[in-house]
């Protein structure tokens, strides 16, 4: 049997979900954002909630997420996505409301909004992409940058006495009573992608059932900012990021 015989709609096993637009994504080759966008699209398609979804775009590389996923979007000021999501979910409580934020957005400038939205137990889902760097602005040190990690503003590695320790904000948020689900995932392998998909689906279901705030941290790569090939960046993430940001559920109520 040759390839032309196999390529037939009857034999289709995987195709791009219909929630994603045809626009080519602006992300660097191999960026984890694309995989996370894709699984969010798949979940929204499978749950059949495309017409009921309102997402909040952050400031950062993912600011253009509204061009790639065909759902309703709002663009928040830097770090203020959970505050905007609070307003939307309170006004339209039957909608699926989620924010999509990076570590510069959620763990730096938006720390106050994030902590207070989680503490109030707003019925939203937060997708937190943690790549340990400010990707869009040129690879500067972020709060989540690892000790000793080289960035454009820490060329000799993050010096802990000078620049402080890496902030594990997901651990902090898991301690708040308003939060119902906290998990940490990665999308570097097929198994990782499938687990992350289940985690994000659970977070979306919690938002629809108004159970409280759900946080899904996706430990990601920024191969352009880390100055590695995409495959090397995945290996580096497993070796260096996973010991500091271990995979698994932190809270599931």
């Amino acid at each position: 049997m040759n390839v032309a015989d196999i390529i037939n709609p009857a034999n289709l096993v995987y195709k791009k979900n219909t929630v994603m637009n045809e626009v080519p994504m602006h992300y660097c080759p191999g960026c984890s954002h694309g995989v996370v966008h894709k699984i969010i699209g798949e979940i929204i398609e499978e749950m059949g909630v495309q017409e009921k979804t309102i997402a909040i775009a952050p400031v950062g590389c993912a600011v253009f997420a509204y061009k790639y996923l065909d759902v309703d979007w709002q663009q928040a000021a830097h770090g203020r996505a959970p505050a905007l999501a609070t307003a939307i979910k309170r006004l339209l409580p039957d909608r699926l409301v989620f924010t999509y934020q990076g570590d510069g957005d959620l763990a730096a400038i938006g720390t106050a909004e994030t902590i207070h939205a989680c503490n109030r137990g707003e019925n939203i889902a937060i997708i937190f992409i943690n790549n340990g760097i400010y990707g869009m602005t040129g690879g500067q040190m972020a709060p989540t940058t690892l000790a000793g990690m080289k960035t454009s503003t820490t060329p000799n590695g993050r010096d802990v006495p000078l620049a402080g320790n890496p902030l594990n904000i997901t651990d902090l948020l898991a301690k708040l009573d308003g939060v119902c689900y906290v998990t940490r995932q990665a999308v570097h392998t097929v198994a990782g992608v499938k687990k992350a998909k289940r985690a994000i689906q659970h977070a979306f279901e919690n938002s629809m059932q108004n159970k409280g705030t759900s946080i899904v941290e996706v430990v990601s790569t920024c191969n352009a900012g880390w100055k590695m090939t995409p495959a090397d960046a995945n290996d580096w993430m497993v070796e260096n990021m996973f010991p500091v940001f271990p995979m698994g559920d932190l809270k599931n109520e």
């Binding site: 195709k15 191999g30 894709k38 392998t189």
Partner: protein, 74 residues
Amino acid sequence: MAKFKGAIVVDTEKCKGCDLCVVACPTTVLALSTEANSKGYNFSHMANSEDCVGCSACANVCPDACITVYRVKL
């Protein structure tokens, strides 16, 4: 054991040649092409199509959702 044979179609204009599908392929079917698309990226293609089992690993890890997978049971 049931045997499967698969094939993929790559949207070559969207592929950015990141190599992640090549690394993820369990049967080393994929490779980056020596040809480039209009953006200058060496897109992914089936270099060894005989061994494809249609497992969808490449499509799952593709950040640009540019792989479609087909599979038949032999």
